[in-house]
């Protein structure tokens, strides 16, 4: 039994705030009419997810979430929106009217199935912990156990940067 006016109670209340920010941001991101608003909703959703990571004992991943997603990915998407979105909003829809309800139905069934599975399964916790999962442990395992993947991800990022430069430069004089 936790009272509202203790540290645990207040942090539980803040947790609900983060859940609300996450879900509201996700809904804005998928249903806003203009793309800029939906990118803003995406940034809001990422901030909420960063708060949830903080509650999962991973402040470093929360910081990286804000730095990479809100600071880099959202800003890049905003650049693309500014470069590519046409100024007049096209209202003509040439698609089937059933797409919206069917999408809602499909995603609803999927969410219901996943959530039901998560709630019904008896999760068994680990018998013992080999470390506490602090930033020290994270850095050590990143540079010892996962050093190969670390190098590979650097190569992937380099290829992505060069590839996006090539793609965006080709045909620029058209």
């Amino acid at each position: 039994m936790v009272s509202l006016l203790t540290v645990e109670g207040l942090s539980g209340l803040l947790f609900f705030g983060f859940i609300g920010i996450t879900l509201a941001g996700a809904i804005i991101a998928t249903s806003a009419r203009s793309l800029i608003r939906s990118v803003a909703g995406l940034a809001l959703c990422f901030l909420g997810v960063a708060g949830l990571y903080y509650y999962l004992n991973s402040p470093f991943v929360a910081l990286m979430q804000i730095l990479i997603y809100v600071g880099a990915v959202c800003v890049t998407i905003i650049f693309a929106v500014m470069l590519a979105e046409s100024s007049e909003l096209k209202q003509v829809t040439r698609r089937n009217v059933l797409v919206g309800p069917l999408a809602f139905l499909a995603s609803g069934i999927l969410t219901f199935a996943l959530a039901g599975l998560a709630l019904k399964t008896q999760w068994r916790s680990a018998p013992c912990l080999v470390n506490r999962g602090t930033v020290d442990n994270l850095g050590q395992s990143l540079l010892t156990t996962y050093s190969m993947s670390f190098e590979l991800i650097s190569v992937v990022l380099l290829v992505a940067v060069v590839g996006s430069l090539v793609l965006a430069r080709a045909g620029r004089d058209k």
Partner: protein, 108 residues
């Protein structure tokens, strides 16, 4: 007040992850522009990372594995966003549109 200790419960995070995934799927089907679909893909990825982090916190014997995995998901998502956005820019240059219904040259 049992509801205030939900943050210490695995199922809460799994349900939030499932909701993010479902909202992302909905946007992916329903959106009509490439950038909107990219935004939905980012939502799906963040739902998956939230699941990894929840399992890492509550069930994994080594609590660094999920954090490393989530960091790698972030790097892949950043690379994916860069490539996808430059492809979108190239498509816009050729078709003067980022609507999925306009880029149908290969449709029979």
């Amino acid at each position: 007040m049992y509801i205030l200790v939900l943050s210490n419960n695995l199922q809460t995070y799994l349900v939030i992850g499932a909701l993010l995934f479902g909202i992302g799927i909905y946007g992916m089907v329903q959106r009509q522009t490439f950038i909107g679909m990219l935004i939905s893909a980012e939502l799906i990825l963040s739902g998956a990372s939230l699941n990894f982090m929840a399992f890492n916190r509550f069930l994994a014997p080594d609590p660094t594995v999920g954090q490393v995995f989530t960091l790698f998901i972030m790097a892949i998502a950043a690379a994916e966003a860069a490539i996808a956005l430059s492809i979108i820019i190239a498509v816009y240059r050729n078709y003067k549109s980022i609507d999925t219904e306009d880029v149908v040259d290969l449709q029979g």
